[in-house]
Amino acid sequence: MPAADTVGTAAAIAWWIWPIALFFTSFALGIVAVLSGVGGGVLFVPIVGSFFPFHLDFVRGTGLLLALSGALSAAPSLLASGLSSLRLAMPFALVGSIASIAGALLGLALPAALMQTALGITIIAIAALIWRSKRSEYPVVAAPDRLAAALRLSGVYHDPVDSREVRWQTHRTPAGLVLFAGIGLLAGMFGLGAGWANVPVLNLVLGAPLKVSVATSGVVLSVVDTSAAWIYLHSGAVLPMIAVPSIVGVMLGAKIGARLLRVAPAATVRKLVIAMLAIAGARSLLKGTGIWI
């Protein structure tokens, strides 16, 4: 279908249908995001960018704000409980935030078709990463590296399930810094949030326990996304008519998702998310290459 026809079809639908559809889509994504453990932003950008009439610039700006709002809402209780570690988050968040600013500037400067194509490839790669990735509850870290030792990247938390104190430390800090720079660049470029990558790097590369990785990921994400969000905001890529229904929808959906967490079949939800990402990624790729506008 030619692009002009698509725009014409979208314009023929009453404008207020789109924010309402956006709210319900975001609500559903909020539920799925919590159940699958994948952030809302990584689902929101490819799905809304591919199936709604909004330009990708506005979708990416909204994606960042949406991921930021979710991370900010979850962070206080995780930080107060000690499960999330500000000490672990801060060095990597600094590198990630600098890279995310560069990513946002780059993303806003590149042509839309190129961005849409790159988004499609990235999303398909993320789907593959989620499908293939393994997690380690308590990774073995024999000794911290010199930088981790100097920064005392270690801690202790109380695990109520096992009713014990868990001590942890990390290693491979330089590799982690490089990886978080890459994650920040992608987060800023595509407005994806970064939980999908933060957790595997914190857990499998740095060696933080899984619960600490999940809890700390949100703090890193809130800093990284704040930096990029300012760039999008100043560029005019944030439209309240798109952003607010999305943020409210995802946050309400996340609350429902949290209640369903105990009864939902986690493995099925995970497969559903991988399928959703693969479809949205393929759609984005086809849209970017002009095969299916």
Binding site: H55, R87, L105, G236
Partner: protein, 136 residues
Amino acid sequence: MDLETAQKSFARWIEAGTRAGLALLAAGFAAYVSGLLPPHVPLAELAGSWHLPLAQFTAATGAPTGWQWLQLAGRGDYFNFVGIVLLASIIIAAYLRVLSLVARKDRAFAVIAAFEIIVLLAAASGLLNSFGGGIS
């Protein structure tokens, strides 16, 4: 104060800021869609332009960039920016709090916090946007 203790204060600042930001966002959006505050870009015109690339959208609608939205904060659409900007400022405020608490006890993390604040303030200033597409 050590960083682990300061973390609790960091959490409280984020919680208070997020609640205020989301409340402002909800109130602002209600005022926007109800017509209580008339928008700068009429809704029908917005719907006819939201498929456009950013540069074309701003040219077609006269949408502000950078901090220009402050001059339109009384308009329904840009009143929403008060809540959005508050959400985007929470981490800066929380890092300033951490910096003030750990400055004496944990120099390394005080330096990291200071660098982060500089990065975030640079992004928030709008000056960095001139390095990109030159939109702002």
